[in-house]
């Protein structure tokens, strides 16, 4: 049990988060220290520096205006990444916050243990930040701690609902032949790329004597930043307190779809076409960009659960993330009306198997 010291730090952090400063490290029974706080973030949290041990993010998500949120929007997923200035950032793990429709918000205390391997650089610290990986942009806040978790799982046989983080033991994505196991979604060659950019060379030409160099029109010049698993529905969780490895197959008996729909910032017409062309998505008759993935009934996948573990399969889609600039290119090749745009696009059915030591 963490002591009152940490609770005090939580309150102090909350009262100071509006200035977005990192609270000074404050020991709590020798086990936890505060590592900072975010008053509000939408996509990425601030970066906090950790020396090792365990890391805890205490995340709150507001969903007050959507009390009747749909089942698949109920779970807001956050990924923990290590910010690496010299190489690509390292993925650490994920955590979910369940929005409680009766309360209008959700909260989770997520702990990642033994994060020493992410400590790097001259400062001997790991730089962590949270990245939202969910469909809706509800505002989130976070309070962060480093230290040692005194509440590590024991052999207790109490079943805890909502304790849903675990180690990923297998990614499976679906293609024409069925489900195929991949090492991890980012290294998979099975997920097809988008159609690519028109690849215009943008040069500004102000000399009216010269002929127009560009056809003119909207362009979205973007690159795909990563694949990520996006959950559509939970599988049941099996706890194995016995002494025998157990195979568990869960059957999906509902059809749930995860799709895209742009609600603002992208106008119907040229802007939509430019974005759809770049990311390889369709345009619906309503003038909206569209791509959807359906997890359908009678899909069954099997997962092994070793003694002393719990295991489950989450069902969802592999989702692409595109980041880039949307702009209007004049017939004289001048970029105007520029704005940056992030696009998240579901691509394939996917299952992720997870397990966790009890």
């Amino acid at each position: 049990m963490k002591s009152f010291g940490k609770i005090a730090v939580t309150l102090v952090s909350i009262l100071t988060v509006s200035s977005l400063t990192i609270s000074p490290a404050y020991a709590d029974g020798g086990e936890w220290v505060s590592a900072g706080a975010d008053a509000t973030f939408y996509e990425n949290s601030k970066v906090v520096q950790i020396t090792g041990g365990d890391f805890e993010a205490s995340i709150t998500v507001s969903g007050i205006r959507d009390a009747n949120i749909s089942e698949q929007d109920r779970y807001v997923n956050f990924e923990l990444w290590e910010d690496d200035s010299t190489n690509e950032d390292d993925y650490v793990g994920s955590c979910e916050v369940e929005l409680k429709s009766d309360l209008g918000f959700g909260h989770s205390d997520c702990i990642w243990r033994d994060i020493d391997k992410f400590v790097d650089g001259e400062n001997g610290k790991a730089e962590f930040y949270l990245k939202r990986d969910s469909m809706l942009n509800y505002p989130a806040s976070g309070v962060y701690y480093s230290g040692h978790d005194a509440e590590a799982p024991t052999d207790s046989q109490e079943m805890v609902v909502g304790d849903n983080y675990g180690e990923v033991v297998g990614y499976y994505i679906k293609d024409e032949k069925g489900f195929e196991k991949v090492q991890n979604p980012e290294q998979s060659g099975s997920v097809e790329l988008g159609n690519g950019s028109p690849n215009h060379t943008v040069v500004e030409i102000d000399d009216p004597e010269r002929a127009p160099a560009c056809p003119g029109g909207w362009e979205y010049n973007a690159s795909k930043t990563k694949y990520a698993f996006s959950k559509i529905t939970y599988g049941k969780v099996g706890y194995n307190y016995g002494h025998k490895t157990m195979k568990f197959a869960s059957t999906i008996t509902t059809t749930k779809t995860q799709g895209t729909e742009f609600s603002s910032q992208v106008e119907v017409g040229g802007q939509i076409k430019a974005v759809a062309y770049e990311v390889g998505a369709k345009i619906t008759s309503g003038g909206k960009i569209s791509n959807s993935v359906t997890v359908s009934k009678s899909d069954t996948m099997e997962v092994y659960i070793d003694p002393g573990y719990k295991g489950w399969a989450d069902y969802g889609s592999m989702r692409e993330s595109w980041k880039g600039e949307l702009y209007y290119l004049t017939d004289r090749c001048k970029k105007t009306k520029e704005k940056y745009l992030n696009v998240y696009l579901p691509r394939r059915d996917a299952y992720v198997f997870k397990d966790k030591k009890l």
């Binding site: 609770i7 939580t10 309150l11 988060v17 509006s18 509000t40 939408y42 709150t60 998500v61 507001s62 007050i64 205006r65 009747n68 749909s70 089942e71 698949q72 929007d73 918000f105 205390d109 469909m135 809706l136 942009n137 505002p139 806040s141 509440e151 046989q157 079943m159 609902v161 049941k236 969780v237 099996g238 706890y239 194995n240 307190y241 016995g242 002494h243 025998k244 490895t245 157990m246 195979k247 568990f248 197959a249 059957t251 008996t253 509902t254 059809t255 779809t257 995860q258 799709g259 742009f262 609600s263 910032q265 009934k297 009678s298 069954t300 099997e302 745009l341 992030n342 696009v343 998240y344």
Partner: protein, 274 residues
């Protein structure tokens, strides 16, 4: 939430968050195209837990699934199946398959358990769970793909008991009934014996035994007897496979279903069509 003080934290956070809410909602969003709302009255299975149980409570597959398994429901209640919740059990040799309807749920949920006697225990015939197939009755399929089912809409699931896909069960269920079709490998017939009983077969048997069982499991002949729960068990040999069917349905319905099964070598088995 593990600490009461976290509630205070949440309240503070919400005050801060709400102020930022309106401005940011107009960002690019991805919305769920399926906006079904769940009723608070829905009670379903969220988790299940398998434990060891005393030997005297695990002497049969049925006892094992009653005493070794707990179910945690969406209303936080933890329940265990009782005898009346065990729909039937089919045991062939050292392989048990037991169908359970989880009690106290408003969403019908069947669990089929694979059990075998434990080699690691000193006690003989301690049945332990080594596989679980969960079949929840949700959105139903209507196309039976050539299978003569006693109901029009159903949910189906497949479970490979072994790793090489030789010992497989299929479950086909609706709100009231669940039918299990099993495919187990068996030794081939020795044709040199010209119909005489062969020593190598039967190596195994159903438990309880089929009282009218022939000494040879002849090709093409269907056998039928009743299991411990009064459930009909129909079985036959096809090549090197034993096909058995059981369920909480009538003998007549089971025979009709068996007659509609394709050859076991069919890639779509037990369905006639993909």
């Amino acid at each position: 939430m593990r600490y009461p003080i976290r509630y205070i934290y949440v309240v503070f956070s919400l005050v801060i968050l709400c102020g930022c809410y309106n401005d940011e909602l107009n960002k690019v969003q991805i919305k769920d195209s399926n906006e079904k709302k769940q009723s608070n009255d829905v009670i379903s299975v969220k988790e299940f837990e398998v434990n060891d149980a005393p030997f005297k409570q695990s002497k049969t597959p049925e006892e094992a699934v009653i005493h070794q398994v707990k179910y945690k429901l969406s209303n936080k209640k933890v329940v265990q199946a009782k005898k009346k919740n065990v729909l039937y059990s089919v045991t062939y040799g050292n392989q048990g398959v037991t169908a359970v309807k989880v009690p106290s749920c408003t969403v019908t949920d069947y669990f089929l358990f694979s059990t075998d006697p434990d080699n690691d225990r000193k006690e003989k015939r301690y049945w332990a769970i080594n596989g679980v197939l969960d079949v929840t009755i949700g959105e139903m399929e209507k196309d039976s793909k050539g299978l003569a089912l006693p109901f029009k809409e159903f949910v189906s699931g497949k479970f490979s008991i072994d790793d090489n896909d030789k010992k497989v069960i299929w479950a086909i269920a609706n709100e009231k009934h669940v039918i299990t079709i099993g495919k187990f490998p068996i030794p081939p017939l020795d044709h040199k014996l010209n119909g005489k009983p062969q020593l190598q077969f039967p190596l195994e048997n159903f438990s309880p035994k089929d009282p009218k069982r022939d000494s040879i499991l002849n090709m093409g002949k269907h056998y039928l007897f009743l299991g411990t729960k009064g459930n009909p068990i129909l079985y036959y040999r096809e090549g090197d496979s034993l096909i058995w069917i059981s369920g909480n349905v009538s003998e007549k319905e089971l025979k009709k279903l068996a007659a509609s099964l394709p050859k076991v070598s069919s890639s779509s088995f037990p369905f006639s069509k993909e």
